[in-house]
């Protein structure tokens, strides 16, 4: 009934774009704990979810929030929590549980300055490596980001889709600038973006169901708690029924499965945008709000006839080494623009044969990096003086 649809063009905050994306993807359960600069996500969901029969709960802390969404996911719901640095730190143990027990869920981290309470209201991208390695033990993870509200919406939908496809937690690493800035966003009509729904087992009642036995295509059909299949879920190494096992074969098989299901699909998970890369001699690599300033510089250099290009990463983990190698391999120099001490810069260096051509352009003082900042850094790198 398109005529009853509300206005499709909206002027909103990035955090609201994330809410729209989550609801579009079919979010049914949210648990969270307020923290700047992510709180708008939970405030909007507190209003929106109950209207559509969804569940919303403000928990006693972020540990509980992460645990609650895992419990709700097991009953068959699409689930979300949202936080920022300090809360993301608290979630790490349960995030690892979701990795181990293969529970689809989405975690938003609207990054602020850290460590500790840091800079609550200012931008940083300092949690990139925490998203990768914040929980203990070897594992793989998916983390996505975006630089504008349309992409925040799209990546949020993607996050829910990937969580279901790979039976895994997915981290959305936004930042304070994108989260709080207001800009235009077009809300796609239902059905425009394909959604991945929970893959449920077709095994009938009374027949042995294996919650942890991958199908030929690698996916693991689930059975909702409350359904006809009773099985065990644990954070211990477990067999195909979900029961604890320390059999070396089982342990080895499970850790390989958990890592391979993601690392073997790097290209399928990779989301990125290319600007003027075909003949670029200087390639900027950036992501999140920072990519906006980088794009501004690239376009102004192009207008001056300089062969600049931008690779904007949207999938940060698993890191798309081949795609980055392809995009930057022929460049004279590669400049990684990010607001931390070089988390993604280190990965870009790994992706290239000549890491000495890779330079970090950053700001770590809570002030959003501007095109002027980038141009100044360029002058220094080129040896042209301040």
């Amino acid at each position: 009934m398109p005529s009853n649809e509300p206005e499709l063009v909206r002027f909103i905050q990035g955090n609201e774009a994330c809410v729209e994306g989550a609801l579009y993807a079919g979010l049914e359960f949210f648990a969270g704990y307020p923290i700047t600069p992510s709180s708008e996500i939970m405030e909007h969901l507190a209003r929106r979810l109950p209207r559509r029969g969804g569940k919303f709960i403000q928990m006693e802390d972020e540990i509980a929030s992460m645990c609650a969404i895992i419990g709700a996911s097991l009953t068959g719901r699409k689930v979300l929590t949202a936080t920022s640095g300090p809360g993301f730190s608290l979630m790490q143990e349960a995030l690892g549980y979701a990795v181990m027990a293969e529970i689809p869920c989405v975690i938003v981290n609207v990054q602020r300055g850290g460590p500790s309470t840091g800079l609550p209201t200012q931008i940083s991208q300092g949690d990139v490596n925490q998203a990768r390695w914040g929980t203990h033990g070897d594992h793989a993870i998916i983390a996505l980001t975006a630089s504008n509200h349309q992409d925040v919406f799209a990546m949020t939908v993607e996050a829910f889709n990937m969580a279901e496809s790979y039976r895994t937690p997915v981290v959305l690493l936004f930042d304070e600038v994108v989260g709080h800035m207001r800009e235009r966003m077009v809300l796609p009509q239902p059905g425009r973006i394909a959604l991945v729904e929970r893959l449920r087992t077709s095994v009938p009642e009374g027949v042995d169901y294996h919650p942890y036995l991958p199908r030929e295509d690698g996916r693991l059909p689930m059975s909702d708690f409350g359904g006809v299949h009773r099985y065990n879920v644990t954070g211990l190494y477990h067999d195909m029924w979900g029961f604890p096992s320390d059999n070396p074969k089982v342990v080895h098989g499970l850790i390989r499965h958990l890592v391979d299901k993601i690392e073997n699909n790097v290209d399928a998970i990779a989301r990125y945008k290319s600007y003027y890369l075909d003949d670029a001699r200087t390639v900027l690599v950036s992501y999140g709000a920072t990519a906006r300033s980088a794009l501004h510089v690239v376009e102004s250099q192009r207008r001056k006839g300089q062969k600049f290009g931008l690779l904007e990463l949207q999938t940060l983990w698993p890191f798309p080494y081949d795609i980055v190698g392809e995009a930057c391999g022929r460049a004279k120099q590669v400049l990684v623009v990010e607001m931390n001490l070089g988390h993604i810069c280190a990965e870009v260096k790994k992706a290239l044969n000549n890491p000495r051509n890779v330079f970090l352009i950053n700001r770590i003082d809570g002030v959003f990096i501007s095109p002027t900042d980038i141009r100044q850094a360029l002058r220094l790198i080129d040896g042209r003086g301040v």
């Binding site: 006693e60 645990c67 419990g71 996911s73 009953t75 708690f225 409350g226 065990n232 029961f243």
Partner: protein
């Protein structure tokens, strides 16, 4: 349905030490469920980490073995998402009230219809006998070689103060009593807490020279009295058993239903 239908018999013999009280809790819990004739498909059992928490592995219902201390937080997600499920959360004393203490009081405060069992052996069994917040003063433990100076929580008083609407205590000596209390706790429409005194002869018993499992059980028999009995007046050291609180208050998931109605009518007004 016969008792054994509720058990995953292929995992027996169980992992608990001889004389451990946790097996008795399993027995009583399964019998309590059986008397109610509940379908196994409508029960979700959520536990944390500890010897006690291994109980979920042996029961043929939907089982969720989670993180140390976090069982009630996971269970809150399960219950709010699907309120029609019966959610039972067996925990250890450290699990429920040290690392999980915050989740415990908040689940009680919300009065969400979850049955919380505190299998209290006054010790960290799984990790080798360190003291817990229920050990109490002047006991020996692996981390208290000169005796403890930490007073213990009173689980009953704490639960009542936090807002639980069913609060009871029993022991693994008084099994029939335990079955009856567990049944009432599971049927209760609100947050229910059952503290179960359960012996750990391996650590608490041995380090405090309390004798073997039989002697520890005799201790439960001699040191406890039914709630409200005159003996307690004469000897305040005695521990009371039975149901302390059983009252009605709005249950969380039911209250949330009303919020959904409110939200829908508010949305209707604005369109």
């Amino acid at each position: 349905m016969a008792i054994d239908k509720y058990l995953r018999e292929r995992f027996f013999p169980h992992m608990w030490c001889a004389g451990c009280g946790h097996g008795t809790v399993l027995n009583a819990l399964v019998r309590a469920i059986e008397t109610m004739g509940m379908s196994r498909n409508e029960i979700v059992m959520v536990s944390g980490i500890g010897c006690s928490s291994r109980i979920t592995g042996y029961v043929d219902v939907h089982t969720l073995h989670t993180l140390h201390g976090r069982a009630l937080a996971f269970a809150t997600g399960v219950k709010l998402s699907k309120p029609e499920l019966n959610v039972i959360v067996p925990m250890g004393d450290g699990d429920a009230l040290a690392i999980g203490g915050n989740h415990f009081i908040h689940a009680a405060r919300r009065n969400i219809a979850i049955t919380a069992l505190v299998m209290n052996n006054r010790i960290y069994g799984m990790t080798g006998g360190q003291y817990s917040p229920l050990s109490g003063c002047e006991v020996l433990a692996a981390t208290a070689p000169y005796t403890t100076i930490d007073p213990s929580f009173d689980v009953v008083a704490l639960s009542v103060a936090a807002g639980a609407t069913f609060v009871a205590r029993c022991t693994t000596y008084h099994v029939k009593e335990m079955i009856d209390i567990l049944r009432q706790a599971i049927l209760h429409e609100g947050f229910s807490v059952v503290e179960i005194l359960s012996p750990c002869p391996t650590y608490f018993g041995r380090s405090n020279k309390l004798g073997d499992a039989a002697e520890m059980l005799r201790g439960f028999k001699e040191d406890t009295v039914p709630v409200g009995s005159a003996a307690k007046q004469k000897n305040p050291e005695l521990i009371e058993r039975g149901i302390f609180v059983q009252k009605e208050k709005p249950e969380y998931c039911a209250a949330y239903e009303k919020i959904m109605q409110k939200a829908r009518s508010a949305a209707g007004e604005t369109i």
